[in-house]
């Protein structure tokens, strides 16, 4: 029996680690997607943001975020948190193996370290949603300062309310892998930032015209989307939290299939919608469609049939196209469509849960949606306001024209094409 328990523990721990590694890879996906959709003169800066925010997220979550989100105790609204995690520690083998095998999965059935590892990559994902929406005109260091607050406090608090066993969980709010806790949260923080930041210069004209600002590298944007798609198998698949028996293995497999089908549905729906609206196939809409499908299914990737998962994703794909156009009409400049993909479709994902999961209710879903939205928006808005007052959040007009690469990073992403390096090659 002890051999089996050892094996189960090891397998489920391994599963957390591999899933976490897949979600970590999504950071590369975001980096490629965003750098492909901005202009060449802003590419190095957004890459710097992506690398740095990932590192900051890991550190802040280790220092305090993880303990806020998964405290030893709490009253449901305020976690009784400490700063214990960064000092290490894990389950002792003797304690683990002494647990009652009949109640194995109610106890410690995987490494505590692997739990942190799996969770920390989620907060990084939420934070990286913000970088795309504020691209091409936000100060690098202002953004990183916001990242410190978002990953150390804002995200963990609402994460506690649902996944940490807080009041949203008690209210039967369902969010399997984070359409709300991760995607809506990230998009709302982005929205607060975009409102205070303003649009890129030249994006909207006074007479109501919307100008196109095409991205510099569509191959990278596409690569980024595929990387995110792959990483999402860890994002949703790992959120099943168990692998080591027949039922759970089947559940994980279903989650993988549904995740994939939703992405596929999203691509096709977005592509067709763009074709109908614009007359041609817009690759960037197709890419956003894939991600929209993935976000849509993230709240409930287990319960649906593969067919229904495809439909949920497809509806996300249609929504995202209209949302992107709609945000532009509202003069909310979002260079990569992050608010639409993760926020608007994140809300659809949450509301779709009761359609396949009988335990969920629309009331609880709306409740959770509103709480996450309100908390994140208010907390983020205040944080952005403070940062704006202290150091400003927007680069100067001249820096914006010159490009953030030169003004914020002192280097260029494509020096030989743009020629600043000189013709020396």
């Amino acid at each position: 029996m002890e051999d089996i328990l050892n094996l189960r523990y090891a397998l489920d721990t391994f599963y957390f680690l591999v899933s976490g590694a897949l979600v970590m890879w999504m950071a590369a996906g975001f980096a490629m997607l965003e750098s492909g959709l901005v202009r060449a003169k802003n590419t190095a800066e957004i890459l710097t943001k992506n690398v740095a925010l990932f590192a900051i997220a890991c550190i802040m979550y280790m220092v305090m975020g993880y303990n806020i989100m998964y405290p030893a105790d709490g009253n449901g609204f305020i976690p009784a948190f400490d700063f214990a995690f960064m000092f290490g520690g894990d389950n002792a083998a003797a304690d683990v193996l002494a647990q009652d095998p009949a109640a194995w999965y109610d106890g410690s059935y995987y490494s505590g370290m692997s739990d942190f590892f799996f969770q920390v990559v989620f907060v990084a994902t939420a934070m990286s949603i913000v970088s795309g929406a504020v691209a091409e005109r936000m100060k690098l260091w202002a953004f990183l300062l916001f990242a410190v607050v978002m990953t150390g406090f804002i995200y963990p608090m609402q994460g506690y309310w649902k996944w940490g066993g807080g009041f949203l969980d008690a209210a039967n709010f369902q969010d399997f892998a984070g359409s709300g806790v991760v995607h809506l949260c990230g998009a709302t923080a982005a929205l607060a930032g975009v409102l205070l930041l303003g649009a890129r210069k030249g994006k909207y004209t006074a007479d109501g015209r919307i100008n196109a600002i095409p991205g510099a590298n569509l191959p990278m944007a596409t690569l980024g989307t595929f990387i995110l798609w792959l990483g999402w198998f860890g994002f949703n698949g790992g959120s099943e939290l168990v692998l080591s028996n027949v039922d759970e293995a089947n559940a994980v497999a279903a989650v993988f299939v549904n995740t994939n089908m939703a992405a596929a549905g999203g691509v096709v729906a977005a592509l067709i919608t763009a074709r109908i609206l614009f007359g041609k196939a817009d690759l960037t809409m197709a890419l956003n469609g894939a991600l929209a499908g993935l976000v849509a299914i993230t709240a409930e990737p287990l319960a649906p049939t593969p067919l229904w998962a495809t439909i949920v994703g497809a509806i996300g794909g249609v929504i995202v196209v209209f949302s992107i156009i709609g945000l532009d009409k509202l003069k909310l400049d979002d260079p990569v469509g992050a608010i639409s993909v993760h926020g608007v479709v994140g809300m659809w994902g949450l509301l779709a849960v009761p359609m396949s999961n009988g335990d969920a209710t629309f009331g609880a879903q709306i409740y959770g949606l509103v709480v996450i939205l309100a908390w994140t928006f208010v907390a983020s808005f205040i944080t952005w306001l403070v940062i704006k007052a202290v150091m400003g959040i927007r680069v100067s007009e001249e820096e914006e024209y010159e490009g953030c690469d030169v003004s914020e990073c002192g280097l260029e992403a494509y020096p030989e094409f743009t020629g600043a390096k000189g013709s020396g090659r």
């Binding site: 919307i210 100008n211 196109a212 095409p214 614009f278 041609k280 960037t284 156009i325 469509g337």
Partner: protein
């Protein structure tokens, strides 16, 4: 001496280069440019926002030749670069005051 500059469609570059070497032209400089002529631009959509495409990618081919070769060069380039459709391009002929081969210091016609 004259400098013959031809603005042509990018995919015609190889044909023009071959045609020029057939009539004995030994040096050529190529630049990527954008331009338009008498045609108005058209609009495309990027994520639902319209943008005007009026500058089209072209290639500028420059050759320095003796006065006597100019007509042959013009005819050669025209023949190779022509498709009969809008956007085939134009050829301009400039007076060339001086030419120097850097390696040897030769100047004038010997430098061409």
């Amino acid at each position: 001496m004259k400098l013959v500059a031809a603005i042509i469609k990018p995919f015609k570059l190889d044909d023009v280069r071959e045609a020029l070497s057939e009539i004995g032209v030994t040096g050529i400089t190529v630049t990527e440019v954008k331009g338009f002529g008498r045609q108005k631009g058209h609009t495309e959509l990027y994520r639902g926002a319209e943008y005007v495409v009026d500058f089209l990618p072209k290639i500028k081919v420059e050759v320095a030749v003796d006065d006597g070769q100019v007509d042959a060069v013009i005819e050669s380039i025209s023949g190779a670069a022509k498709t009969g459709k809008i956007g085939d391009g134009k050829i301009f002929v400039y007076e060339l005051a001086q030419a120097v081969r850097i390696r040897t210091g030769e100047s004038g016609s010997e430098a061409l």
